[in-house]
Assembly symmetry: C2
Homo-oligomer: 304 residues x 2
């Protein structure tokens, strides 16, 4: 029996994602130093969070962008690993008691619940630090592109990017941020690394800002980043904690400002639909954009 | 009245250190992004710790090594700033309640005492992240040397280096580490960044591992790093808290394993003397080594 077109495409993109996730994990294995016999717990703690069935969305975007733009997997995989290390460190630090104080992540105890706060803090520091060595050590691209990748990795994940978003998130606990502030927070907290994924994919393929396709993949990543956050907020409000692997209803309990503080769930879903269409439209004209388009649709429909 | 040679030399090196500290601070000013109007507190917190009358030992070593090897100040200053940012982040994280839980640093409240734990954690993350952009952005050296600097910065400050030393320090709280373990801890926790200072100074000057002077400055930095730690332990045991700007006697109160757990103060002083002589001997034959030799003597005799 023939599957209909939509289901079959979804199956295809799921297979592609699974393949890229496996490749990223192999790259992460190569990228982590061997545990030091005097303190193996540091490596255990890093690995506990790094290999915990994450969605690997950022590596997937980086690899798909690179492939679409004619680059090789070998050129983008070190950047994909670096992205995932930075993402992973941010989750470990974000879960700490002085931040979100979360006990559960991806259905398992958070890093500090397993290893204690000090080791969790240091495992995050070590992952962030190692990410730069991994990006700088990319031998498949020339030194100029590797340096550009290091600079972007720092800019998007630092005080003007992801870390800035976490600061805004923390400050928002003491007030009621407006819509503009909430968008600014999300564009830094989750948007910056998703955009970075597209940027690193393009750099790995040798495509720079002078190529019009560069702006297209940035537009794609900006839209997908917003969709990702809207769906996160919807899942927290309406999702199932077993399926999502998180405690749901947490945002409301914590009095967090989310998209649902400004629009009802139906309007949020409609907005996410529109953004997904915009993401697809921005890359549709580029040969080989199929998987990126299917990924955008899949991220819109995800249940966890 | 003519000053005697020793006092005059000490005055010279103090002037040189003050000059390099000023240059480093000017470079740090250039290296920090402008505060974001939505969350200026992040920048305030970073600046609070970064501009707090630190000794700037690592930048001083980097600049003096670079000068001795014929490099320009312009080439080494971005690396000096990156070094100081990494050092500063490590102090902020190390002072956190889940680590050393310190209230006082350089005679002032620690970062988390001023800004709260979340902002302190994130300011540390932002400084570490920015350090890599600053090293990668060094336009005075070619891309190959900038990339080499990024890789070394990561290696010495990450899980195999400084962060590893902090893990060992934390693990040591639950036991009595032997002498070998304590040396391994210090060689990572403080030694790695002091060695990195020498390495980055050499890279800035265009001197690589194939040049015999490279091994000489590494030897110098390894000796000086150990002396630095021995003097720290002696000052904690015997120093004055007003002069040192720290709560002294803390190591004994915390049951910490230090050099003084293995030798009496006089033997520790003698060992530090011998290491200083070794440091001086390793670079003495290189033209222009005067300031580095005087620095080693000064670090041996410091009172804070």
């Amino acid at each position: 029996m023939k599957k209909d077109g939509f289901v079959s495409k979804m199956q295809d993109i799921k297979d592609i994602i699974a393949e890229i996730a496996r490749m990223t994990e192999a790259e992460l294995e190569k990228s982590l130093p061997a545990p030091d016999p005097d303190y193996p717990v540091l490596c255990e703690s890093e690995r506990y969070s790094l290999f915990s069935a994450g969605k690997r969305i950022r590596p997937v975007i980086a690899v798909l962008v690179c492939r679409m733009l004619g680059g090789s997997d070998e050129a983008v995989l070190p950047f994909a690993a670096a992205l995932e290390m930075v993402h992973c460190y941010s989750l470990i630090h974000d879960d700490l008691p002085c931040m979100d104080d979360d006990d559960l992540r991806r259905g398992r105890p958070t890093n500090h619940r397993m290893f204690g706060e000090a080791i969790a803090l240091l495992a995050g520091d070590a992952l962030l630090t190692q990410a730069f060595a991994v990006a700088a050590g990319n031998r498949e691209v020339g030194p100029d592109r590797a340096l550009k990748a290091v600079s972007l990795l720092s800019e998007r994940s630092g005080g003007a990017g992801m870390v800035g978003g976490q600061v805004m998130d923390k400050l928002a606990e003491n007030g009621s941020p407006g819509y503009r502030t909430m968008i600014g927070m999300h564009s830094r907290k989750t948007g910056a690394l998703i955009r970075l994924a597209a940027e690193l994919g393009a750099i790995a393929a040798g495509v720079g800002e002078d190529d019009p396709r560069y702006a297209s993949v940035i537009e794609y990543s900006n839209c997908v980043g917003l969709v990702f956050q809207i769906v996160d907020d919807l899942l927290d409000a309406e999702g199932d904690s077993v399926e999502t692997g998180k405690n749901t209803g947490q945002d409301e309990k914590d009095g967090k400002t989310t998209f649902l503080s400004f629009m009802d769930p139906d309007s949020a879903r409609q907005y996410a639909d529109e953004l997904t269409s915009k993401a697809v439209a921005s890359v549709r004209g580029i040969p080989g954009s199929g998987p990126l388009c299917e990924l955008a649709e899949m991220l819109l429909k995800r249940k966890k």
